[in-house]
């Protein structure tokens, strides 16, 4: 396959970026999108040019490191897929593909397609953990959890922190990410105890990082590689209101 690329090149967060044209001739349809970028970079290195920088790690859809806007959509045209799990068979020979970094004020551009997503980490640090002393590792069955509880907690825990929800949101809101983390811990007995502290801390951190509000457009779930439900956001709102209205400090 022959693929025409328009790739966003930007030196750092302070400089202006723009699309640069590239052509990759020897694309195999079974290559992943990142392998196609590798092919391009190999060519650029050989020509003595600076390769296109992008984030990646596991390349199997579980780490959340990869993630770029492909033709104006986070993680590209396939719904609920990471960039590394998107394959070139989703494109046609001779296609022109626009590749741009995720854009949000809270995600400063490091270089080219690489962004700094530490804002999401700081939201986790502000409350996405269990702080009560749980003692020694208990006997596995001493805390009864139903299959359904475990499954729905896992549905929320499946978030890989890629930031596609923020990038897909017209307000650059991190509500899906934060909602998923809060719901995940709220659904399990170890996490439940601290929900009210956690939810206020994490919501405040989300605010401080400069993410936008949630308009319930639900675009985030559509593009989320893990199909995290927007009901996690409603759950966050519920827990937040409950902790503000009902919990005595």
């Amino acid at each position: 396959m022959k693929i025409y690329l328009k790739i966003w090149r930007q030196k750092d967060n302070h400089s202006k970026g723009c699309f640069k044209d590239y052509t990759v001739d020897d694309v195999n349809k079974d290559m992943s999108f990142l392998e196609m970028l590798d092919t391009l970079n190999l060519k650029l290195v050989k020509q003595g040019e600076r390769p296109v920088e992008f984030d990646h790690d596991c390349r199997e859809g579980i780490c959340g490191q990869c993630g770029v806007m492909i033709n104006g959509i986070a993680h590209g045209p396939l719904k609920n897929t990471t960039t590394c799990q998107l394959h070139m068979r989703s494109f046609k020979d001779g296609d022109t593909i626009y590749v741009e970094p995720f854009k949000a004020a809270a995600f400063p551009i490091v270089r080219d397609l690489k962004i700094n997503r530490s804002a999401l980490d700081r939201i986790i640090t502000s409350g996405g953990f269990v702080a009560v002393d749980t003692g020694q590792a208990p006997e596995a069955n001493s805390i009864p959890i139903t299959y359904q509880e475990a499954e729905s907690a896992f549905d929320s825990a499946a978030c890989i922190g890629c930031g596609a929800c923020v990038a897909s949101c017209k307000n650059s809101s991190a509500a899906l990410f934060t909602g998923a983390k809060i719901t995940h811990l709220e659904l399990l007995p170890q996490g439940q105890k601290e929900t009210h502290v956690r939810v206020t801390e994490m919501v405040e951190q989300m605010e401080k990082e400069g993410f936008g509000h949630c308009s319930n457009t639900e675009a985030c779930q559509v593009e989320c590689p893990e199909n995290i439900s927007v009901l996690n956001i409603a759950r966050m709102n519920y827990e937040y209101n409950k902790s503000k209205l009902l919990v005595k400090k």
Partner: protein
């Protein structure tokens, strides 16, 4: 404490509450205005009596203050969140096809809201202000003749079109707004969430049709 007021979740709660109150008001307002469609003579006396009753009642007066406050707070919140969203977006995408993942109305609540707001300004000026502070002739029961004022206004096709466009904007605003408001307030149960969406759609369609037919029928009848 400050962050509590500046916080998007709190703002969205307020927006949802004011929006839902306004939605509730829309039902009452529609039922009252359907009296305009009664046979002509009856409609005139009945509608003028109704307006007279509303303007004289102290409870209605208090509710109307809540209503004005809701419109104001809802609009202020819209502006606040709009600015916040702009700031959070940072640099614009050069190629943006994100719209494929959401409904048109959910992305254009501000645009729809601005149409509603402009409509409200005209609506208040032409009817509410006129009724309250203007000189109006009286009907045979001695009530101010709001009915004739309204019916004459809808003689103009442009006025009918203005109202129809505004009601459609309102309809789309509600199509997203009613369900969204419940989410903002924290309804996370999958079944009720779906039910609310369906009922919200039904509500929006009925309200929109209800308001739409009034100017159109009056225009055709006269």
């Amino acid at each position: 404490m400050m962050i509590y007021f500046k916080n998007a979740l709190t703002r969205k709660n307020l927006m949802a509450l004011t929006g839902l109150f306004l939605s509730f008001f829309l039902i009452i307002h529609l039922l009252g205005n359907l009296q305009l469609l009664l046979p002509e003579k009856e409609a005139q006396l009945q509608y003028n009596l109704y307006s007279h009753f509303l303007s004289g009642n102290i409870v209605i007066k208090l509710v109307s203050y809540v209503l004005y406050a809701c419109i104001l707070l809802h609009t202020l919140d819209a502006i606040y969140l709009g600015i916040k969203s702009k700031k959070a977006n940072g640099p614009k995408l050069s190629r943006d096809r994100r719209s494929r993942a959401s409904t048109w109305q959910s992305r254009n609540m501000m645009f729809l809201g601005i149409i509603i707001f402009l409509f409200l300004v005209i609506h208040f000026k032409d009817f509410w202000y006129h009724y309250k502070f203007g000189e109006l002739p009286h009907d045979e029961n001695g009530n101010k003749d709001l009915y004739t004022l309204v019916v004459n206004a809808f003689d103009s096709i442009w006025y009918v079109i203005l109202y129809s466009v505004s009601f459609l904007a309102l309809g789309f605003h509600l199509l997203h707004g009613v369900a969204s408001a419940h989410r903002s307030l924290g309804v996370y149960h999958p079944f009720y969430s779906k039910l609310i969406r369906i009922l919200g759609y039904l509500f929006s369609i009925l309200i929109t049709l209800g308001y739409l037919i009034i100017p159109i029928i009056i225009y055709i009848k006269h």
